[in-house]
């Protein structure tokens, strides 16, 4: 069983409107990532590509619209 390392609010992530992913610093030096599509599908665990740590994204469904609006 993997524990969640921490809970991070969605507004603390940096949103990349081109790649449509949210990123937040990981203690290893890389970044936790989760895509906008995953969040829309109800997924809420962001993973780091370089290690086993995971964070839970704290958000409400209505929070997502402001990021959808940033897409060109």
């Amino acid at each position: 069983m993997e524990t969640i390392y921490d809970h991070i609010e969605i507004e603390d992530f940096i949103f990349d409107p081109i790649l449509q992913i949210f990123q937040y610093p990981c203690p290893c030096g890389d970044r936790f990532q989760i895509s906008l599509d995953d969040l829309k599908d109800g997924e809420d665990v962001a993973i780091c590509p370089s290690c086993s740590l995971m964070v839970q994204v704290v958000f409400e469904e209505e929070d997502l619209q402001q990021y959808v609006d940033q897409l060109s």
Binding site: M1, E2, T3, I4, Y5, D6, D12, I14, P25, P27, C28, G29, D30, S50, C51, S52, L53
Partner: protein
């Protein structure tokens, strides 16, 4: 006297300064012809201050965070230019930015940050080495990923950068774009990723996003420091910890500090230097920053496999000057046996 820099851990962007980008689960040694006095670790870059006024940088420099121009990465420790020939006297590093102080008490900043951590004003997101206005009579610089706290010798506390949940100052906006006086008569501060601890003569306050609540008498506290998400302090000669314990960050409570010379905390691991010069590591050690473990399962390790409880990483065969924990990196400065 010769000095040697020993390091291990996360190295994906050359932050160990060894000329390669492979993680190291054992200490790798480099003989220096200068004497280190402080090591500052950013997200993926490292700056080492020398006793003769130089700063040497290595690692990710894609945002100019090493203070060296026009190279995306600095594979080996390389001297940062001395502005105007002045000696550097202090250094600190955040996620992708660095702060450098010189003998004229000028504070210089370089790198990138979107939350005001450069301290240069609104919407300043990236910079080469630039002076932050003012004269800085600094006693202590504390950085976390996107925030800065500076305590002056007169006890004034300045802060800037990410101020989510009032981590720096409850009365300010979410981002503080320029240095702001946030407290006075401060004795000591520690800045974690999303909370801060401010120690004054008769009080100790924790601000920001955290579950940590503590009522401590500052007079009883002899050491206080933070990982990204936990607080560690020595009270009446016992080491105590509070906060996130997802990976053994808080394995002890009330550990006696006899024979402990220094404690240094990284992002989610800690290092203890003992009087016999041995060094042990605890906490999250997935990148080799807490040394080796016999279990091999690199693909999908369990939490247990990446959690360490006081694993010896250095046996004390030579005298240790100081230790430093970084973002899943561990650093030890040793000298020849005298």
């Amino acid at each position: 006297m010769n000095y040697y820099l020993l390091r291990c851990g996360s190295n994906g962007k050359y932050q160990l300064g060894l000329g390669d980008d492979e993680d190291k689960d054992h200490l790798v040694e480099e003989k220096l012809n200068w004497e280190p006095s402080k090591i500052a670790c950013g997200g993926n870059h490292t700056l080492v201050l020398s006793t003769d006024g130089y700063i040497y940088g290595c690692g990710d420099n894609s945002k100019g965070q090493c203070g060296i121009d026009d190279v995306p990465v600095v594979p080996n420790l390389t001297a940062v230019p001395k502005v105007g020939g002045s000696d550097w006297t202090d250094v600190a590093a955040g996620w992708q930015f660095s702060l450098l102080l010189n003998e004229n008490r000028e504070l210089w900043v370089c790198g990138e940050g979107f939350s005001g951590e450069l301290g240069l004003g609104k919407k300043m997101y990236q910079t080469k080495l630039t002076k932050i206005p003012g004269i800085w009579d600094i006693d202590q610089i504390e950085t976390s990923i996107h925030s800065v706290m500076i305590k002056l010798k007169g006890g004034q506390l300045y802060g800037w950068g990410n101020n989510r949940k009032g981590l720096l100052n409850l009365d300010s906006d979410r981002i503080i774009w320029e240095p702001q006086l946030i407290d006075e008569q401060v004795k000591q501060v520690s800045l974690a990723r999303s909370f801060s601890v401010v120690v004054k003569e008769g009080s100790l306050s924790v601000k920001g996003k955290t579950d940590i609540q503590c009522k401590l008498d500052p007079k009883e506290i002899s050491f206080l420091s933070t990982m990204w998400s936990s607080l560690h302090f020595i009270e009446k000669n016992k080491l105590h910890s509070m906060g996130n314990n997802s990976h053994g960050q808080i394995f002890y409570d009330g550990l006696s500090v006899e024979n402990i010379e220094q404690i240094s905390l990284g992002s989610e691991h800690g290092l203890i230097l003992y009087a016999n010069h041995s060094v042990s590591a605890w906490g999250w050690g997935e990148h080799g920053n807490c040394g080796q473990k016999p279990i091999e399962n690199k693909d999908r390790p369990t939490d247990e496999q990446v959690t360490y409880s006081l694993n010896e990483i250095y046996n004390g065969s030579r005298p240790v000057k100081f230790i430093q924990g970084g973002c899943a990196t561990s650093w030890i400065v040793v000298s020849d046996v005298s």
